[in-house]
């Protein structure tokens, strides 16, 4: 038995074509599942983008280009018109129709959908003719195309045939669509074993011209960083991320392997409680020092971000004064400039504010969420102690941290660390979630409850401003006011690092969202 199988395996291997270009790649966690309407998470969305397509495609450089729609325009303030690409087939051979787009919208809007935010402004889709679709929005939505790359189009016929039209999570029967995929994308799903491997092969009938040269790609998650590095060094995988900072040199020193770096889109920052009348650690005093702008400024200026970049991050970060990264619509060079590090001035500001001897406060920090998160907080503790603040560090695992600083425990924090990537690649997403709270559903992670009427107003205006240039100005203006308020302390964007073997072509670059779009991959 063993012999037979081993022989069969050997034959199968020998039979593989000599020009096979197989990419074996890895990251630290498995995909959450394949259902396009749930599992809204970076690496999972990246895999879905290989299998499924949206009307619009977001490229490696984050620019938009035609996907399943060949062109689009805003025909009236509340209507976006899309021309559907003709002759496109799903992997199972059924043709793409306008009805599939409407069906997909229905699933995205279903109660248990996790992708609602991408189609939140879409009221309905009208089929004008089989090639023309009108997206009717609730009020003007100038940035709808920005949100649509993750609106994946599913086959209605296929979903109905497999009895998997519903969006369900966790409680009832397992859904077929979460374990199988039938998109129009450039890759087809061959095999998926949870926590083990996901294998795809090129879709030969894809409408576009393939830029990759793969014949097969195997995604094999490896949770343990040291093992992931070892697998790269031994040549068992061709590409992996993230590379731990301490292993960069070792990989570069190994013949046949190297580390590629790029800038990530997530911004790491600290926030302060500006809502409570009394700070959590100052029971009975009736005071909340963070309500005073001078105290926030003192904290800001007491943090030596260059030191953190050099020592804690070992150079793998890009210090910033902005709450969004370069590449995000609404990023401004001017906002990005940080006020200079100045502990003496910080001490003076604290004295002026009436706290010459500082005050007690707890810094809430995750210890397994961002690169060196706990180490950054540990480095900040002595910096703030230096200006007299009696700071205590509370670092814990991510699920506990986000409960504590989030809605679950009613923002039970005075001073906290958080990171944010605008899911729409647009600064307005940050404005809504992080620095405003008056609008419905805004301020979910505005844990310090920072608010400024001017920022609220500008953010609201930007939401419906049709002129993109004007909109950009509104968003920058809002960020400037927030910056002058010292509403948060932006720290840095992490540098992302990919480890690759020399089997991977030199044209491959890590992309800012830190996931793998197989369309970009070339093998030697």
């Amino acid at each position: 038995m063993r012999y037979v199988i081993a022989t069969a395996l050997a034959v199968a291997m020998a039979a593989a074509p000599a020009h096979a270009k197989v990419l074996r790649y890895s990251t630290n966690a498995d995909l959450l599942g394949l259902d396009p309407a749930i599992n809204n998470e970076g690496p999972t969305n990246a895999m879905k983008t290989n299998l499924y397509e949206g009307l619009i495609y977001r490229g490696i450089d984050l620019s938009l280009s035609p996907g399943l729609a060949t062109e689009w325009s805003q025909v009236s303030p509340e209507v976006w018109r899309f021309k559907l690409r003709q002759g496109v087939k799903f992997h199972d051979g059924t043709p793409l129709t306008a009805a599939d787009v409407v069906f997909s919208l229905g699933r995205y809007k279903a109660e248990q959908s996790d992708m609602k935010s991408y189609v939140a402004t879409v009221k309905e889709i009208r089929i004008v003719d089989p090639q023309t679709l009108d997206f009717v929005t609730n009020g003007p939505d100038p940035i709808l195309p920005q949100q649509l790359p993750l609106f994946y189009i599913m086959s209605k016929v296929w979903a109905e045939k497999n009895n998997t039209t519903q969006v369900v999570r966790g409680t009832s029967a397992p859904t077929y669509i979460n374990f199988n995929a039938n998109g129009t994308g450039p890759f087809k799903l061959v095999e998926r074993v949870a926590d083990n491997r996901t294998v795809v092969e090129p879709n030969k009938d894809w409408w576009g011209k393939a830029e990759h040269n793969l014949t097969r790609a195997e995604f094999r998650p490896i949770a343990n960083a040291a093992t992931r590095v070892a697998a790269l060094l031994s040549g068992e995988i061709d590409l992996m991320y993230p590379v731990p900072a301490q292993d960069v040199q070792r990989i570069n020193a190994t013949p046949g392997a190297k580390v590629l770096t790029g800038a990530e889109l997530r911004t790491i920052f600290f926030g302060f409680d500006q809502a409570r009348d009394e700070l959590l650690d100052m029971k009975g005093s009736g005071k909340n020092p963070f309500k005073d702008k001078r105290v926030r400024e003192a904290f800001y200026k007491a943090i030596d971000i260059q030191g953190i970049q050099r020592v804690v991050m070992r150079g793998s970060s890009r210090p910033t004064g902005s709450m969004v990264a370069p590449g995000i619509a609404g990023f401004s060079e001017e906002v990005d400039k940080r006020p200079a590090y100045n502990p003496d001035e910080a001490k003076k500001l604290l004295t002026e504010a009436g706290y010459p001897n500082g005050f007690p406060v707890t810094l809430d920090c995750p210890n397994d969420r961002y690169d060196n998160d706990e180490a950054i907080c540990q480095a900040v503790v002595p910096m703030l102690t230096r200006i007299g603040v009696q700071i205590k560090l509370n670092a814990q695992t991510r699920s506990k941290h986000f409960d504590k600083i989030g809605l679950k425990e009613n923002y039970n924090t005075s001073f906290y660390m958080l990171g944010w990537t605008p899911g729409t690649f647009d600064a307005h997403n940050m404005l809504v979630n992080i620095v405003t709270l008056k609008e419905k559903d805004s301020g979910i992670f505005n844990s310090g409850r920072y608010t400024n009427p001017k920022v609220e107003e500008l953010s609201k205006k930007a939401e419906t401003e049709m002129d993109l240039k004007k909109r950009q100005e509104l968003m920058v203006e809002a960020q400037k006011i927030h910056k002058d308020d010292y509403g948060h302390i932006p720290l840095h964007q992490q540098t992302l690092a990919w480890g690759v073997r020399d089997t991977v072509d030199g044209s491959v670059k890590p992309r800012p969202s830190n996931d793998v779009d197989l369309r970009q991959i070339k093998m030697k």
Partner: protein
């Protein structure tokens, strides 16, 4: 005998129920599963809706009773993370863990017992000293370090063995086995050494000290006086009398191997239950965690029962005493 097993079975149900209760009480402090399941910018209403759907809005004792009721009917619930039934996920992962534990246990027994006998008999030999020194490494180095060291030597430097995964597996009914392919067997070597090394050295040291003890006793001297062969004395008389403590420890250690395969499985990305449990903890996947803990409790209970029954087989005194006290 039958009454004894029945009583033990009843006790084991109680043990598992209390494990489940403690587990559920602890889950309340683990963080909110909802945070892991929704997009970062999901609204409060969306979060609440999902919480209601999953039944997480109910107090913990209600959740616990629902869980008890469900497992009594064989329903282990659905994984929050993977979205499949927990029973199915565990059935998929169990073979990987059991095969790993089996090989590790065989490794521990077939290396540990002979090495223990050898070092017991040749106390001052150079070889014995060498083995005892090596065994210190097994006792003192933590598992993940041994795993990483082995990967470094055999996968990265020598390139002989894979650094992660299970290799090619063959599906025999519901059981996926790695025993039938070369890559599957190769993939088993490093993780099973990593997992079994501590047990190997433990068993070796235990057998050695028991042997030293037994070899001093009178009946061994008598056996020698009777002119029995060394082989008959060492293995027939001495080793057999060292077995009761060895069986106890080995039995408990097998339970430990299953429960603590977690670290080895994480280091080697071994797709077994331990790895499943670790990911479940990170994701606050309550149905998987609770089912896993109950299952591990069941394993311990069964292994302990088997160990107790083995005493009867190995030690004749137990049989006599039981019959005397049973009047």
């Amino acid at each position: 005998m039958f009454a004894y097993i029945a009583r033990r079975a009843l006790q084991s149900v109680l043990v598992m129920a209390s494990v489940a209760f403690v587990a559920f009480a602890l889950f309340q402090y683990m963080g909110d599963p909802i945070n892991q399941m929704v997009a970062q910018d999901a609204s409060a209403a969306e979060r609440e809706a999902l919480r209601r759907v999953l039944g997480l809005d109910r107090p913990f004792y209600v959740q616990f009773l629902v869980f008890l009721k469900n497992i009594a009917t064989g329903n282990f619930g659905f994984s929050f993370r993977v979205g499949s039934p927990v029973a199915q996920i565990i059935a998929e992962r169990l073979p990987a863990t059991l095969e790993l534990v089996f090989v590790a246990a065989m490794f521990a027994l077939f290396i540990g017992v002979p090495a223990g006998v050898y070092t017991g008999l040749h106390r001052h030999g150079a070889m014995s000293r060498f083995m005892l020194t090596i065994s210190l490494i097994g006792v003192s180095l933590p598992t993940f370090l041994i795993g990483i060291l082995l990967i470094l030597i055999f996968a990265v430097l020598l390139g002989w063995l894979p650094s992660f995964g299970r290799g090619q597996t063959v599906q025999l009914g519901f059981w996926s086995t790695g025993f039938l392919t070369t890559s599957g067997l190769k993939a088993l070597i490093l993780p099973s050494i990593t997992l079994g090394l501590f047990q190997t050295t433990l068993i070796m040291r235990l057998v050695r000290s028991e042997m030293l003890e037994v070899l001093r006793t009178d009946y061994i001297k008598f056996a020698r006086a009777r002119g029995l062969t060394n082989r008959a004395i060492n293995f027939g008389h001495a080793l057999k009398n060292t077995l009761v403590p060895v069986i106890t420890i080995a039995g408990l250690q097998i339970g430990g191997l299953i429960a603590f395969a977690i670290i080895t499985e994480t280091v080697f990305q071994w797709p077994g239950m331990g790895f499943l449990f670790i990911t479940a903890i990170q994701f606050v996947d309550v149905p998987v965690m609770s089912s896993y803990l109950v299952l591990v409790a069941l394993f311990f209970v069964i292994i302990n029962l088997i160990v107790d029954l083995l005493y009867f087989a190995v030690d004749p005194r137990l049989r006599v005493e039981r019959s005397v006290s049973a009047h």
